[in-house]
Symmetry: C2
Subunit: 243 residues, 2 copies
DNA sequence: GCATGATTTGCGGGTTCCCGCAGGACGTGA
DNA sequence: TCACGTCCTGCGGGAACCCGCAAATCATGC
């Protein structure tokens, strides 16, 4: 049984190594890697079946790494171990887990015991273990609260990338008005108004929406990075679009 | 000699505690705190003269904490210990150090020995110690490269907050055209064009500028948070503005 | 089948944005 | 003093954005 650890912080990495060895005495090898790109390569060459991964890494973040790992081997069991439960991360993870895959999401603030249990449940019992706090965020997205629907989240990403309404319409194969419609819903959900009955303190809704999404952690830099990469890919695939 | 440690990650905090005790055997007390707000309070009540602080903390980040600490006691010696050298952080720190204050900026990736030296230099010798990589970022801002001037950075923040041109003009006491002028410079510096010679892939410059600033780490969520707080303060000070 | 609600699309218009052109204010150096 | 560069400001116009009104489509459930 091989376990691959992908974590770019040295202290956390060694702590995690100890935790894995302690929780799973039956495992005979623990590999450690310090960034997402190496993680993908190692997972491929080791045929790793078990992975513990940080989400926020500089070189290539955990979500992207997990996506390619799962693409090549959908039965890989991955335990995400992250500092934050930003909606952007939670949503990013949910978006990429393959049908029927088993995974876990544990916060770094969890106790040693919780981490131990999660490791055993996910790797040995094939049980999904989602931190209660993370679970809360997931639910909020589904329920009717101020959670965004998928359509709204998608358009939020496009706006955050700086695309025009028309560009979004082309990309998503929608009419211009539909895009603007969704934008209106988005503004409403985020509680963004022009606001200035008076002279000052007026907002540009599209920019303001990105700002409050950022402040509320619905969006974060790494989500924007992923979206940007997707956009660039898309542009290079279809000729005649990239300028 | 009292040293106050402000760091929200438990592993890092204990590592830092050990490092401080090892580097400064002459110090007789080390206090540890796990978030920025508590850090401010402790610093005040302990009359702390020496502080080691993380920048990225959830409750209240290091820059804000340092700002209030320095405001009350400008001769406090602060060593920042951070994961990243994002331009946003570097600029944020430079912006708040009082005249003649001594401080340091060390990356978490630095060796034990570098940390030890920095602790001794800053606290005992009153020498500023700035990590070479961080130094590079600082320079880039000043030299003519694609670094932004202060005026451009300011307007970038305002745009990122979602203000309209007119609102920015009021806020900064400038004419509308001047604001738009600075925006043009900003777009140029960031290399943002309308870009779409063809049908698709057109950009909304103001939103795109925020996106690339985010991707290039010129901006980050915590910088936006600080700006937002300033904005809210300003609105509540001057009546008749906040709606 | 039919009512209800959510989505999509078109049209029209008021507002804001983006920017070229051009004139004025300020500082620096020859 | 004059020339030059940089910054601020006004004007005007084309494009993009924001949105109310309204019709058409689709899904769901009674």
């Amino acid at each position: 049984m091989n376990v691959l650890i992908v974590e770019d912080d040295a202290l956390h990495r060694s702590y995690l190594g100890d935790a894995v060895r302690a929780a799973l005495p039956e495992c005979n090898a623990v590999m450690e890697t310090d960034n997402g790109r190496l993680g993908e390569i190692q997972a491929r060459s080791l045929q790793a079946e078990f992975v513990v991964m940080d989400l926020q890494m500089s070189e290539r973040n955990g979500i992207e790494a997990a996506r390619t790992i799962w693409r090549e081997r959908p039965d890989t069991k991955i335990l995400f171990w992250s500092n934050y439960s930003d909606e952007a991360y939670v949503r990013g993870v949910s978006r990429i887990v393959p049908e029927g895959a088993t995974y876990g999401y544990v916060l770094k603030s969890a106790s040693d015991e919780r981490l131990r249990l999660a490791l055993r449940s996910v790797f040995l019992e094939s049980q999904c273990v989602i931190d209660r706090e993370v679970r809360g965020i997931q639910q909020k997205g589904l329920s009717s609260g101020h959670g965004l629907t998928d359509a709204e989240y998608e358009i939020l990403l496009d706006v955050a990338l700086g695309l025009t309404d028309k560009a979004i319409a082309n990309r998503k194969k929608l009419s211009l008005r539909t895009v603007q419609n969704r934008l209106q819903h988005l503004y409403e959900k985020l509680g963004v108004h022009q606001d200035g009955g008076d002279v000052d303190s007026r907002f540009n809704l599209r920019a303001r929406a990105v700002a409050v999404a950022l402040l509320r952690r619905v969006l974060n830099a790494s989500a924007v990075e992923r979206a940007e990469r997707d956009l660039q890919d898309e542009l290079s695939w279809c000729p005649g679009k990239g300028r």
